[in-house]
């Protein structure tokens, strides 16, 4: 399997987690669950 693109994008900083979002936003960073829930709600409003 060719993982060239993903590996080059992800090597180094991309695989790590920064604490700058909580420090700047004053709350935890949003998770993919938060994100998905947001979009599910948006879909529901459109339905």
């Amino acid at each position: 399997m060719d993982v060239g693109l993903g590996k080059r994008l992800i090597d180094g900083e991309n695989g790590s987690v920064s604490h700058d979002v909580p420090a700047l936003a004053g709350r935890r960073a949003l998770s993919i669950d938060d994100h998905a829930a947001h979009w599910v709600q948006a879909y529901a409003r459109l339905a």
């Binding site: 399997m1 060719d2 987690v17 949003l30």
Partner: protein, 245 residues
């Protein structure tokens, strides 16, 4: 006054919304203003323009104190944003916040990381206090095709990425724009955890009806085929070319 460029992007739209909510006058600068005019009618001055046209940039930056600078990644990124930087200096902009890229490095073999690294160096010498925001991969972009078609596609194997929600990028941009003390700072912006694409598919708690996550290993070739909803024609192919150096 705060000028927001790239205001039709996921983070740009959210930043405009946050700034309006805080009562800030926010002109927005973007290539195609129609979408934003509809969304923020009467609450935001929307200016059409192009980073390749310095005269338009100078006009847009007249009277602006704070400037959020972003443009989509392109081989002309450094030229375009240098035009904006010159216009900002001429206009007397007091503070600049710029959307950069993870691992930005002028010596990077990854094209867009190199472009952003070159420009970060240039901005550092411009004399305007600036902050660079380096967001990781947007959840919004990562899930775009999933939300449309129920498929997550990327030739990334089992590698993990700390995907970030555009609303977090906008919150960080608003804070660094409105608050002094961020001059010369570089912030890495990520989600709360680095996860694999399979884990991302598993984490989606509820999916639109009749859609389900697909976890199929793919090669770079199929990925390069444009998706059904390309942000720009051939966007996936461009992405591969930009990333591959």
């Amino acid at each position: 006054m705060i000028l927001v460029s790239g205001a039709s992007t996921a983070a740009g739209r959210e930043l405009v919304r946050l700034l309006i909510h805080q009562g800030e006058p926010v002109p927005a600068f973007l290539c195609d203003p129609a979408e934003l005019e509809a969304k923020f009618a009467g609450r935001c001055e929307v200016m059409g323009g192009d980073f390749s046209e310095p005269a338009g940039l100078r006009a847009a930056l007249g009277g602006v104190r704070l400037f959020y600078l972003t443009s989509f990644d392109h081989p002309e990124t450094v030229t375009w944003q240098s035009n904006a930087l010159e216009a900002a200096k001429a206009a007397g902009v007091e503070r600049l916040v710029r959307l950069s890229a993870p691992a930005a490095d002028p010596n990077s073999t990854v094209n867009f990381a190199r472009w952003h690294g070159v420009f970060e160096q240039r901005a550092g010498a411009c004399g305007i206090p600036y902050a660079h925001l380096r967001p990781n991969w947007y959840m919004d972009n990562f899930l775009e095709e999933y939300l449309a078609n129920g498929v997550l596609r990327l030739a990334a194997g089992r590698a993990s990425t700390s995907l970030i929600d555009a609303r977090d990028i906008a919150a960080a941009a608003a804070r660094t724009l409105l608050e002094p003390g961020h001059g010369g700072r570089v912030y890495g912006l990520t989600g709360p955890a680095a996860i694999t694409h399979a884990a991302a598919a598993d984490a989606l708690p509820a999916r639109p009806a009749s859609r389900s996550a697909t976890k199929t290993p793919i090669w770079a070739g199929p990925y390069a085929r444009p998706s059904s909803r390309p942000r720009r024609p051939g966007a996936s192919r461009w992405m591969l070319a930009w990333a591959s150096g």
